[in-house]
Every structure is written in structure tokens, then in C-alpha cells.
């Protein structure tokens, strides 16, 4: 009977140890999670901001490319107009000279 009682007592001690060890491990897990949570906060913030920065750069580069593409259209139009102007001026050069001479001398 005494032996049995001792065995129960011993087993209960083992059980308590098991639970105590589990609680200690749980405490470590929580502590580690707390530290990990801080790192996760930092990393998530950094990732979100980095992603936004990357998109910002993309947005600005796209705007620049769009604008430069539009610019080329403007320049081509101007060059075309320049040719028309030159053709017109060559055609009317004599008329303009005579008209101005007349304006000054008459």
C-alpha cells in the first residue's frame, strides 16, 4: 500500500514536472513571439514602404516616358511646320522684299 502511494506521489511529481516544463516552454514561445512580432512589425513596415517607393519611382518614370513620347510628337510637328514655313518664305521672298522697299521708298 505504501509502495503504491509512493508510486502515485512519484508519478504526480513527474506530471507536475511535465506541466511545469510545458509552461516554461510556453513562456519561451510567448517571449520569442513577442520579439518576433517586433521584427515582423519592422519588416512589414519596411516592405510596405519599400513597395510604395518602388511604385512611386515607376509612376514618375512612366510619367517621364509618356511626356517624352508626347514631346517627340510636338517636335515632329514643329519640324513639319518649319518645312512649310521655309517653302512659303521661299515662294514669297521676292514679294516681301519688294513690298518693304516700296514701303520705305514711297
Amino acid at each position: 500500500m505504501l509502495e503504491s502511494f509512493k508510486a502515485v506521489l512519484e508519478t504526480e511529481r513527474d506530471a507536475e514536472r511535465l506541466i511545469r516544463e510545458a509552461e516554461e516552454q510556453a513562456e519561451k514561445i510567448k517571449k520569442s513571439a513577442q520579439e518576433r512580432a517586433e521584427a515582423v512589425y519592422r519588416e512589414t513596415c519596411q516592405e510596405t514602404i519599400a513597395e510604395a517607393k518602388r511604385k512611386s519611382i515607376e509612376i514618375k518614370e512612366q510619367a517621364k516616358m509618356d511626356a517624352e513620347s508626347e514631346a517627340q510628337i510636338f517636335i515632329k510637328r514643329a519640324e513639319k511646320l518649319k518645312k512649310k514655313i521655309l517653302a512659303s518664305a521661299e515662294q514669297k521672298f521676292g514679294e516681301a522684299v519688294n513690298s518693304i522697299l516700296h514701303e520705305i521708298l514711297s
Binding site: 510567448k30 512580432a37 517586433e38 512589425y41 519611382i57 514618375k60 509618356d66 510636338f74 520705305i104
Partner: protein
């Protein structure tokens, strides 16, 4: 009895193990929840900054588009304008050349006389001096011009050649006291009327283009 005793011991240990596992499982679950919550909080907090960054980027993009657009429109305008300006200057240079060459033509003297009369009339007649270049002094008869100036200004007019000579083609007429003068050299006329003449040339040369 012994068998029953072992069962009790096993049961005690089994319960303890289950409780231990449950404690650890709860801790793990709690840890995951904490981490996930922090992740969500971080996203929410960072999202505000990210949103501000993207908004600023959109504004910057508008500014870039606007600036490039303005610059390029200015550049395109400049291409057209500088070409027009070059062509207008070509006309004015040709006019200058022809005016200088006019000296060699028989039309020169009447033109010169007209310039003297115009200048004399602007000065309101009276005692006036005519400043010409060395060669032109012999070409002009002043007495015929005096009457024309008198008629236009309604003031008796006397003209005399100045001892002063100019190098330019054309004439300078000045009051005898040297206080007022009209510069009717071709160079001065062109310079004085350049703005108006450029407009006229523009209308002639480019009326049919944009």
C-alpha cells in the same frame, strides 16, 4: 490491484502530457496571433505612409508631365519662331542690300530728295542743314526741295549742306542750332521701323501657314 494502480499512474501521466501539449499548443497559437496582429498593425500604419508616398509620386508625375510638356511646347515654338525670324531677317538683309545698291541706280536721287523733304517737313521747315555722304552732296539741288518743305510745313524753309559728312546711305536733316534732327539714312529708317516691317514681312511670308 497492481494492474489498477498502473492504470492510475498511466492516467496521471497521460493527463499531464495532454495538458502540457495543450499549454504549448495554446502558446504557439497565441504567438501566431500576436505576430499576425503586429503584421496587420504594421501594414495599417505603413499603409498611411505608403499612401502619402504614392500621392506625392502622382503629384510629382503631374509636375513632370507639365514641365516636360511646357518645355517641349516652348522648344517646338522656338523651332518655328527662330526659323520665321531667320527668314524675316533674310528679307531685311536683302532690302538693306538693295537700298545700298540703289545708290547706283537712277532712282536714287529722287529717293534721296524725298527723304530730305520728309525730314524737313517733320522738323517743321525753317533754317535746316542737310547732312549727306561725300558723294551725294553733288547729286541734290536743295533749292527745289526748299519749296516742297515750305509747302508741306507752311513755314519758309532754307536748306544748306552741312560741313559734317556721314558714311551711311541716306540723309540726316537737322535744325541750324543742332538741337533737333531727323535721321533718314536707310539704316536708321530700317532700324526705326524694324518692328513694323517685321510684322509686315511676317504677314506676307507666312499668311498661308500656321
Amino acid at each position: 490491484m497492481e494492474h489498477s494502480g498502473n492504470e492510475i499512474l498511466d492516467r496521471i501521466l497521460k493527463d499531464a502530457r495532454e495538458k502540457a501539449e495543450s499549454i504549448i499548443a495554446d502558446a504557439k497559437k497565441s504567438a501566431e496571433t500576436v505576430i499576425e496582429k503586429q503584421r496587420q498593425t504594421a501594414r495599417q500604419n505603413a499603409e498611411e505612409k505608403a499612401s502619402a508616398l504614392l500621392k506625392r509620386a502622382a503629384n510629382d508625375a503631374d509636375i513632370i508631365r507639365g514641365k516636360v510638356s511646357t518645355d517641349i511646347k516652348r522648344q517646338a515654338g522656338w523651332i518655328v519662331l527662330s526659323e520665321k525670324n531667320r527668314l524675316i531677317t533674310n528679307v531685311l538683309n536683302e532690302v538693306k542690300k538693295r537700298l545700298v545698291n540703289l545708290k547706283k541706280s537712277e532712282d536714287y536721287v529722287p529717293v534721296l530728295e524725298k527723304l530730305i523733304v520728309d525730314a524737313g517737313a517733320v522738323l517743321g521747315g525753317g533754317m535746316l542743314e542737310v547732312v549727306l555722304n561725300e558723294n551725294d552732296s553733288t547729286l541734290v539741288k536743295l533749292n527745289t526741295l526748299e519749296k516742297k518743305i515750305s509747302d508741306r510745313s507752311s513755314v519758309d524753309t532754307q536748306l544748306k549742306f552741312s560741313e559734317q559728312k556721314i558714311k551711311a546711305v541716306g540723309v540726316i536733316v537737322k535744325t541750324i542750332d543742332d538741337r533737333i534732327f531727323v535721321d533718314n539714312t536707310f539704316e536708321a529708317i530700317l532700324s526705326r521701323r524694324e518692328r513694323e516691317l517685321r510684322l509686315k514681312i511676317t504677314r506676307i511670308l507666312f499668311s498661308n501657314v500656321g
